[in-house]
Amino acid sequence: MRPPRHRQLLAALLALCVTAAPPASAQDVMIFAAASLKTALDGVAAAWSAETGSEAVVSYAASSALARQIEAGAPADVFISADLDWMDYLASWGLIDPDTRRTLLSNRIVLIAAGTDAPPVEIAPGFGLAALLGEGRLAMADVDAVPAGRYGKAALETLGVWGNVESRIAETENVRAALAFVALGEAPYGIVYATDANAEDNVTIVGTFPEDSHPPIRYPVALTADTANPAAADFLEFLGAAPARALFEAQGFTVLDPTDADAHAG
C-alpha cells in the first residue's frame, strides 16, 4: 500500500494546481492590443493601474489574430489594432462600440539590419534591396495578413522592388517575431515598425520608408460592443492623457490629437 506521505504530497500538488493561478477578476480590464504596442503599452497599463488601483490585463498578438478571437467571443474590453482594416472588420460585424472609436497613434516602418553598426541604406525607388540580401532572407510579418507585413509589402511595391525580393522573404506570424529573426542574426535585414526597432538593442535602423510609399499607419482603439466593465472607458480615456502620451512618444509613436485623428479615421 502507498505510504500516506505520498498521498498528502499528491493532494498538496492537486491543491496547488487548483489554486495557484487566481483567475483574472471580473473587474480587470482586458485589453487586446497589437504586438507592436508591447513595450509602450506595458508602461501605460502599469501607470494606469498605479493611478486608479484597477488592474489592466493586456493580451498581445497580431491584430489579425486578436480580431478573430474577438469575433469568436473572447472577453476583451478594449481593442487596439495596428491597422484600420481589422477594426473595420469588427465594426462591420457590430462587435465594437462605434461611438468610442478613435485613432490614437501613428507609426513608421523601417528597414533594420542585424547588429549594432550596420551602414545606412538609402530607401528610394528601385533601391538595391535584393543585392543587400544576397543569400539571406528579409524578415517581415505575414505580408497578406499582418498589418506590419502589409505596409511593408505596399512600400516595396510602390518603390518597385517587391518583385526582386518577393522570393527572399521569411514571413512570421507577427512583427515581433520578424524583429527576433534579425536580432538573432538569422536574417540580415527585416522590415518592422520604428517603435519595434527602438525596443531592440541588437538591430540597427538603416532606413525609414517614405510615408507616402504605403497607406498611413494608424492605430485605432475602441471599446468592444460586449464590454460591461465601467473601468474600460476610463482606460480608453487614459490612453490619450499626458502620462500615456509621454510613454508612447518615448517609444517612437506619434500620438494623434482627437481632431487630427478624426481627419484620418476615414
Binding site: 489579425s64 472588420y89 499582418v146 512570421t172 538573432l184
Partner: protein
C-alpha cells in the same frame, strides 16, 4: 470533387515531403534510442529518457526557439554544420523537417520502446543457445517481433510531423514553397479577412491526411501481427 489550387498543392506536397524525411531519417535513431531505453542499464538513463520526452512537454514555441538558437545560422551547431558540411537549416525545408522530427521523436520512441519491452526474452535466449550472436538474434528474432511497434511509431511520427506548427514557424518562419507547410498555410489563411473558406478547405485536407495515416497504421500493424502469429 473540388480541385486544389496551386498554393494548396504546394503546401500539401511540402508537408508530405517534410514529414517523410523527418520520419525516415529519425527512424534509425529512434529505434536505437528505444532499444537503449528498454534494455540498457546505465547511469543517466532517466536523464536520456527526460531529454527524449522534452519536446512532448515543452511548449512548441520553446522547442522552436531552442532549435533556432542551436541550429540557426549563428547557433553553435548550425554554424558548424554550415562551415564543415554545407548543411543549412535556417529558413529551409530541411529546418522544417528537423523541427518536425524533434517534435515527433518522443512519440516514435515510446511506441517502439513499448514493443521492445513486450518481447519475450526467452525467445531471444533460445536463439542464443542455438548459436546466434546478439546482433543476429536482434535481426532474426527481435526485429520481426517489434515490427508492428516500429511501424506504428513511424506512422504516428509522420502524422505528428504533418501537424507540427509552433516549433516550425518559430524556427524557420513561413516561406511559400520552402517552409509554409499545411498548418502554417491554414494559420495564414485564418489571419486574412475573408480567408475562412480557404482555411476550411485546407483543414479538411489535413483531417483527411491524418485519418488516412492513422487507419493505415492500424491496418499495417494488424497485418504484421497476424503474419507473425501465423508464422
Amino acid at each position: 470533387m473540388p480541385t486544389l489550387t496551386p498554393d494548396e498543392w504546394q503546401a500539401l506536397a511540402l508537408s508530405l515531403k517534410v514529414s517523410f524525411w523527418a520520419t525516415a531519417l529519425s527512424l534509425p535513431v529512434g529505434l536505437l534510442t528505444a532499444l537503449v531505453l528498454a534494455r540498457g542499464t546505465f547511469r543517466g538513463k532517466s536523464i536520456l529518457n527526460g531529454l527524449v520526452h522534452l519536446p512532448l512537454i515543452l511548449p512548441p514555441v520553446v522547442t522552436g526557439y531552442l532549435l533556432l538558437l542551436t541550429f540557426g545560422r549563428r547557433g553553435p551547431v548550425g554554424a558548424f554544420l554550415d562551415a564543415n558540411f554545407g548543411i543549412v537549416f535556417s529558413f529551409r525545408w530541411t529546418g522544417a523537417a528537423l523541427a518536425a522530427a524533434v517534435m515527433a521523436f518522443p512519440l516514435m520512441v515510446r511506441a517502439i520502446r513499448l514493443s521492445i519491452e513486450a518481447v519475450d526474452a526467452r525467445l531471444e535466449d533460445a536463439a542464443g543457445t542455438l548459436g546466434a550472436n546478439r546482433l543476429w538474434t536482434f535481426v532474426i528474432v527481435t526485429l520481426p517481433l517489434i515490427l508492428p511497434g516500429v511501424i506504428a511509431g513511424a506512422i504516428l511520427a509522420f502524422a505528428k510531423a504533418m501537424g507540427e506548427f509552433g516549433a516550425t514557424i518559430t524556427f524557420v518562419s513561413s516561406i511559400p514553397g520552402e517552409t509554409r507547410t499545411l498548418p502554417a498555410a491554414i494559420y495564414g489563411y485564418t489571419q486574412v479577412p475573408g480567408g475562412q473558406p480557404q482555411a476550411m478547405r485546407l483543414t479538411l485536407i489535413a483531417v483527411a491526411v491524418a485519418m488516412t495515416a492513422l487507419i493505415a497504421s492500424e491496418f499495417v500493424a494488424r497485418r504484421v501481427a497476424r503474419r507473425i502469429r501465423d508464422g
